[in-house]
Symmetry: C2
């Protein structure tokens, strides 16, 4: 392993449990809509909602309207409002770091590492996450796909991030949950790769040798031993 | 006074302190944006934000983008995100009923009154308020201007509401903070009118005799004596 100077992190399922968050958000939204008058079975509602998000994407903002329509309801502001409110409240409640996230980041900084974020999604939304997680001042560089109009696993996402933080990709490590997005791209750029087994991608299998991580950790705290 | 069968309420500054909420939301949003890197004076920022909302309306959703532009910043996702987050968190924190709201509504129901809401704004947003306030199940009728494409003080807002709840306007009372919107319209419809002295409209003067309320109360609890 080269002398590592910088460590990059994905956000979702790496710094916090986004899979749990998404599940709880949907369930609480359905429960709230039922309380507000939607007469459907909770599990049937959940299933339909998941399908809508799968088809329309996770940033689609009319998922509850579509859901009501699917169950034969007219646009019903009271039910929509109940869903939106539960959605936001639950999202906020589950935007907490993994138990070891903050201490690991602090220790890396103390050891002299530069730390950064390489993440996909809308820039404002990803920053909202970092701020809610209490991490907005921690990172020396934050690279979000929307800003640079690239997507992981594009190698450029990783080389631009390294450049911004002041090192070469070979002098950096990437920590993420997804083999296809985080590990594959980072490895091709020359970074040392560490897969964290969190969230729904923990059981993903590498599609090629390029997606095989250099290290696999169950929790963030284990990277401290790797980066000795 | 006719035999009153139903009592209608405005939401903002009647069931909860929306003037305080708006002030705190703006102040906390500016503070959060300063923490995220916006180098401006807090009071100057507040003043500029108020002016943007005055011109663009309270449901305009790019107020922080406009603010940054005004202070010479490019679209900066980190700062925008900090503002949006503080906005939502503070909005939620101040969505609590006045200390006497819930007990007054319960007592009116116990006494056999029908209770309702007559409010302006977007239907989903007004329902979000009622749900957050913990009041979604309290009212026998909720009339929101967007649904009926009327605005207070249009007399029809009040006559439709009375009809929905099952009485004539003469058999109803309207409680609200605004002389021009709540009192004027309700009085012309035939309702008994009660002004509550809350929020920024508390110092408003009646523009005509039609806007003079039948009763003025400092707090919601005083309507219990009026509706004996």
């Amino acid at each position: 392993m080269n002398k590592i100077k910088a460590v990059f992190f994905d956000i979702d399922n790496t710094l916090y449990d986004s899979t749990l968050q998404v599940e709880m958000v949907r369930r609480n939204a359905i429960k709230a809509m039922i309380e507000a008058g939607l007469e459907i079975d909770e599990e049937a509602g959940l299933k339909a909602l998941k399908e809508i998000v799968r088809v329309k994407g996770s940033n689609y903002d009319h998922q509850f309207n579509d859901l009501l329509e699917e169950f034969g309801y007219d646009n019903t502001p009271r039910i929509i409002a109940a869903g939106i409110l539960a959605y936001h409240n639950t999202k906020a409640a589950y935007l907490v770091p993994f138990p070891d996230t903050v201490s690991v980041l602090l220790k890396l900084r103390e050891r002299g590492y530069k730390i950064g974020v390489i993440t996909e999604g809308l820039a404002v939304k990803q920053w909202e996450k970092l701020i809610s997680l209490g991490l907005q001042h921690f990172f020396h560089a934050v690279l979000i796909s929307e800003e640079v109009r690239k997507q992981k696993p594009d190698v450029e996402m990783f080389s631009i991030a390294a450049q911004r933080i002041g090192c070469t990709p070979k002098e950096a490590a990437m920590v993420g949950d997804r083999l296809d997005k985080d590990i594959g791209g980072a490895k091709r750029s020359g970074m040392t790769t560490i897969q964290i087994l969190k969230g729904k991608y923990a059981s993903q299998k590498p599609a090629s040798q390029e997606e095989e991580p250099d290290y696999i950790v169950p929790d963030l705290k284990h990277i401290l031993a790797i980066l000795k």
